[in-house]
Structure formats: C-alpha cells, structure tokens
Symmetry: C2
Subunit: 465 residues, 2 copies
Amino acid sequence: MGCSPRVIFQNIPDPLIKSVSDYVSSPIGVGILGLGTVGQGVVRILADSAEMLERRIGRPVKVVATAVRDLDKKRDYLPAGVVLTTDPMEVLTNPEVDVVFEAMGGIEPAKSLILKALRLGKHVVTANKALLADHGTEIFEAAREAERAVCFEAAVAGGIPIIQALNVGLAANRILSISAILNGTCNFIMTAMTRDGKAYGDVLKEAQRLGFAEADPTMDVDGTDTAHKLAVLVQIAFNQTVGTDQISRRGIDRLEAADIRFAGELGYVIKLLAKARWRAEGLELRVSPTLVPKGSQLAEISDSYNAVRVEGDAVGDTLFAGRGAGMMPTASAMVSDLIGISIEPKARIRASAELWKSSGGTTPLIGVDEHKTRAYLRFQIPDRPGQLAYLAQILGDNGISIASVIQHEPEAQTGTEVAFVSLIIMTHMATSGAMRRALEQIRKTCELRGEPIILEVDGRTGQPN
Amino acid sequence: MGCSPRVIFQNIPDPLIKSVSDYVSSPIGVGILGLGTVGQGVVRILADSAEMLERRIGRPVKVVATAVRDLDKKRDYLPAGVVLTTDPMEVLTNPEVDVVFEAMGGIEPAKSLILKALRLGKHVVTANKALLADHGTEIFEAAREAERAVCFEAAVAGGIPIIQALNVGLAANRILSISAILNGTCNFIMTAMTRDGKAYGDVLKEAQRLGFAEADPTMDVDGTDTAHKLAVLVQIAFNQTVGTDQISRRGIDRLEAADIRFAGELGYVIKLLAKARWRAEGLELRVSPTLVPKGSQLAEISDSYNAVRVEGDAVGDTLFAGRGAGMMPTASAMVSDLIGISIEPKARIRASAELWKSSGGTTPLIGVDEHKTRAYLRFQIPDRPGQLAYLAQILGDNGISIASVIQHEPEAQTGTEVAFVSLIIMTHMATSGAMRRALEQIRKTCELRGEPIILEVDGRTGQPN
C-alpha cells in the first residue's frame, strides 16, 4: 500500500490552534479564491473592520493572496502587497495563508480546490451550498482527515446566523421542525405577484431588470437552490445526510396569479417554503409553494428577505429573519466564520468532523406519499348541479376531509357553451398519497378545464402559525 | 500589601481546557444553585439529552451537586447520587464541579456565590439579567482574574440565541441599532389589550390568574426588567457598560386603551420596545411603549413572545424571535452555554474577558432631550374653532412638523358644557427636547382635559419597517 495522504497532512501544525494558547501577534493569513461580488465584500469588511477584528480575535487579519480570472480588473479595498494571481494553487500553497475563502461558486474547480486546501492544512470558509449539498461527504471526509474546519454560515440565508444558532444556541434541543424561506429571488417574485396581482412571467422579467433574478433563473425558481440549502440545514439540525435529489421539490415557475388571489381570499399568502419535519417514523422533507396564514411570521417575510422558523423540543418556536444573499450579508457571514475559526479552532474542527459522516444519522426519509399536509385544491369545473358533491365524495372516499370551500358565481357566459367556474377546496390534514389518488380519480371521472391545482398549506387547522 | 486573590486563583488548572486537547472521557461536572423552575428545567434537559450532549461535547455531563432551600421537596429528573445540600458552598467547593449554574435569581446571595465560584476556578452559567446589568463590572472583573467564563445566553430573551448571534454570527458587523421586545409579561398584556380593547388593570389581573404575570409585576410592567436586558445587549453589541439607571424608561402601567385604539386607526400597534441606536454623537438608549407599524415584523410578535431586531452595517436588518422565558426555553439556553463552555472554553473565557471592562467602550450616551424620534401625541381639547391651528403653531415653532392628524366628531354632548374631543397628531422626526418644550407650552396655554399623552413611534415617515 502506498503512503496515505491522511498520514502526511495530519501532521501539519495548525497555526491557529497554537495561537490561541499563546496569543501570538502574528497575523491570521487569508487567501481568497475569486474576487467577484462576494470576494470583494470580504476584502471590504476585512479592510473596514481591521481594528475590530484584531480586538475580537487577538491577532490582526491579513489578506495574503487572491486568485482571480482577470488580473487587470480594477479592485477596490485590496490592500497593497496582496498576491494577485490567476493560479489558485499559488494561493493554496502560500505558507502565510491559514484560512482559504472559496468565493467562486459552482462545483468545479471549487470542489477540487477546497479538497486541496484542506490537504495543505488550511481551514476553509465557503458559501457554496450546491457543493455542500451534493458533495458534502467528500469535503468533510477530507476535513476530518486533515483535522481542519470547513465553515459555511453564508451558505444558507447569508445574513442570518442560522448555522451557528443550530450548532450552538439551540444545541440543547431536539429539533422538531424547520420551515424556511431560503431563496430571495423567489420571495421577491412572489411578493410582487401578491402585491400587484401580476403574472409570474411579467414579474420575473421585472426582477431580472432590477437584478433580483439571474438571466437564467432556473436553479432559483425551480426550487433547486432552496433544496440545496434545506439539505445543509438538515445535516446540522438532524445530523442526517440527504442528497438534493432525495428532497421532493416544486418551484414557483408554474404558479398562477389566480391561486395567489384565491389564497388571499382564504386568508393566506403563498411562499416557497422548505420544510423538514421530524416524526417518529422519519423525516419529511420538501420544497414547495405553500399557503402560509396571513399575520404569521413567515407570511410577513417580504421581498428578497429570508427566514427560518425552527421548532425545538425545549425552546418551542423560534424565528430568524434577514437578508439571504447579497454582497455584504454574505461577506459578513463568511467573516464571522473567520472569527469563529480564529478564536475557537478546536471547536470548529470538532464541529466539522461531525458533519456529513458516513456513520451519521440514520433517520429514514418519509416517502412523499406518506407526507402529511393540509392542501389547497383548485378545480375548474362545469357550472352544473352535483359537481361539488361529487368531488367531495371522492375526497371523502380517500379519507380527506374538507375544511372550507370557495366557489364564486360564474362570469357572464359567452354563447351557449357551459361556463366553467373555479372551485377551491381547503382540506384538513391528509397524506400526499391520498391526495394524489383522489386527484387521479377526479381527473379521470370529471369534466375539468385544465389540470387541477394542488398546493400545500402550512399549519394545522384552526391553529395557523 | 497582602496576598492578592488574583495570584492564588489564576493557577487553578481548568479541567475543561485540558479536556479539549485530550478528549478525556471524564465527565463534565455541573453544580446547580437553586432548583426552582429553571434549575429543574436544566436538570431535566441534562437527563433527557444525555446522549446528545455527550455526542456534541465528546464527554458525558454529570450533575454533581445542587444547593436548595428545602431538602424534603420532591425533585423529578434528579439522578441518584447527586449531592443535595442547603449550603451553596458545598456545591462550589466540590472538586468534581467544573461549571456552576446560578439559578437562584436576585442580587444576593447570587452575586457573592458567583464571585466565589469564579475564584474557586469554576465557570459560571447564569440567567440573572438584573445582576449582570447592575454588577457586571464586578463579576467580569472576577472572571478575568480567575480566567474563567461567565455565560448568560438565558439572561436576554431566553429562547432566542441572541447573545451568541451578536458575539459570533454578527461579529463582522458594526451594530447600528437594536429594537427589541424583551418582556413577555408586558407583551402578553399589550397583546390582550390590543385584541380585546380592555383596560390595563383588567388584563393584568387576567395575566396574573393565568401565570403570565407575577403577583408583584412592578419590575416587569414599569420597564425595569426590559432595561436590565437592554443593558446586557448594549454591553455586547456596543462594548459599552451602562447602568440600568442610565436608560430612560417608561413602562406600560399607565398606558390607556384609547391610545391603543387610536394607534390602530393610524395603522400601528403599541409594543414595549427597548431601543439602542448608534449615532455619530453617541448612543441613544430607551425603553418605552412605542407605536410599531402593523405588518412589520415586530408588530406581529404576540403574547409572551420576545423578539430582537438587529441592524448591522454589513448584514442590514435581521430579526430573531422566540419565547423569552419559561422553564424549558431558559434551561435550554443555559445548557447551550454549557455546551459552548465545554467545547470552546478558551473562546468563552476570551469573550468573557472582553465584557464589562473599565477600559471598555467610551461611546457617550445621548441625553434624552437629544433623542430623535417620531411621536404620537394625544390631547383632549375643547371642540372649538382654532384649537388645532393653535397646537400646530406651537409644534411648528419648536421645529416639529406634523405627519398626520386624527380628530373625530365629538360624542353627543351632555348638557351645555363644552365637549372635549381627542386630537391625535403624528409628528415627523424631532428631538425629545423639542417635544417636551412644545408640550409644556401647550399645557400652559391651552385648555386641556387631562394630561397630554406622548408615545414614541418606530420607523421613519413613509418608511415603516
């Protein structure tokens, strides 16, 4: 057998750990991969808050080297003497660099560079949720081998210190559920759809014009980004590794203005919610447009804000809200990780070592059909006697009971054809499987215009919140 | 000069620090002073979550000794073999005790015992905000001398990990402002007054019956408890020591149902708000019933819930909400401190050493007259021509401009006397001094029924938040 890298790299002394005992005054060296918006935000905070950081950490922080794509681009806030290179390896191998900020995004080369950084004895700070969600096992295996920390406060709801809250502040709790608004683009679009009554496509265009949505917004609006973040939260809150593809998800891209309007009539707003719920049988995980009762905390989270509601067995309900992304919130979260690694490296190494373990949690995931939820159903049915009774019968046969119904009078008829009216049914709690079976039966046996719409509803009947 | 206790106690080895390097499996010993509601909650979490705690910390946690008033009282969850004594010193001097939980409350003997515990080389966990607010300097001086940590996550908004958020999660920010609902009793009372339109006295009686208010609720309803908590937050967020008596404060005990109703008409709810605002000239600190725009996050914090809104220069607005008090939220916060001390003792010692320093922050406090705020003013004026114009004139003379006005038609008159009507004026931003001078002038020169009412208004005109 050859020489294992594990043995080689484990023995590199960690300058941060030594420093905590000795309070040496040599600076903490930072290397940054990528000087886009986030990377520049980091450089700016490190420059603006140098004094405060030195006071908190007990040592100055020094940006040693940064890797960029274009050497000629103008960079504000970058202090003189910083190595600027197009070769990331120059940053990683720099002996003065103690902590590497990965601010490139995407899977490769970010993943390879993080693995290399760890093996070279560097701690890593990243905001890369896609990478963590789908390659966490590999990255944290490398962190364990190298005895280094990988910190990622910025990966989920950047401006909200939710990772730290789950790791420390709520650590004495068994987490019972998490409900979260984690994608600022979606929340911006849905806030505008709700406020202005506009269609999804129109609002998306406006959001793109204002810079709140990417030119290709697919990953945001189809729920993938939210699922990445939920996977990261689930790892910390439930010690459970889940791939993004194990999370049932629907985006907002097919949401209709009509449903936002009807939800409003019923006293709800629609949010793209990430939900994780612990039940004795296992974990329920999903990302879906969900009706949230007006006046509840999550309903009031507007525009590009994010929020995470955490229910703990001891603490009850808690809510954390703030900006989810953007240059300074993300950078501030990354710098808070730098502070954490600097003053408590052992704790951060230890916390990293517990994450994405192959021997980690073994809570089964509950299949989508067994998810329990209340639902909002919308059908376009012919305006004929007996229709509501028939639909209600099918729902009842499948064990689904009805909490409330809206059916308005039909619009003025055109010609002799039969008018179709929207029928909205709010159900009590039932399994998604029962809902699916009932909808199939209705689809097969009823004359409907278009597809029936089904949306999840947050909260128990009579106990909104 | 005699032998300084500093020299003696500094040399006691800290068993926790040794353990982090060696991951020894000897248990972390906990001593508890007081087995009231909170103390019992701690014992319960330590028993229920023993396995989880050992996994997080890497060592088991063992309750070694507890001091109580009455040895014969029945205690649930207390494991066999725990020393139960009426002499707190027996807990403090027990060599197996590493961390002392102070769960007695009040100033003495809690203060003396905490000082003794530190000098005996123990770390301390406390929820005692009154003690910290008014004796923090002495306690943290002792912590510095003994090189031990004093942790107090439970002292402010128990269920919300706000201390940890300010210390670590938002550490890369300069904090610009804090607005917080910190007293569950007051919020419970005001929620009921708002919902039911009842008078303060009636709701207080109901709250006492339900256990949401103490038999003597003075410290809660007069704003003292909120001021204690604000003093603690200010220490961490602004590195500034302030005594409770330096915080301008008004309670809810003289709040009238009429003002809650008029505020509602104007689109606001009234909350007892603790505010700290950083301005170039210094810090504005106050506790007062404040109009908060409906639909804003703080307005939606109901019943006994607490919330803290923190504005950071990088992160923007963040909100943290949860249960403020109660057995399990408080106990869970104290146990999270135990976890923190156990896995990151150096960081906690270092953080404690930075607090309540005589050489700490030197930001001046801004005198009440120089506070800048919007105001809600209510006058009962005779229903005669020219009254509004006259009042508006006086306000204008004092540099106060009017944002909006409500004056309803008078109720049916009784007899021949002049009817009095309520005139409500919402002002734009002005100094409290200008308001005070204007009100004095109005009081002297106008025929008013009763005293004019003045309440603060949160948020800028046209930018409710």
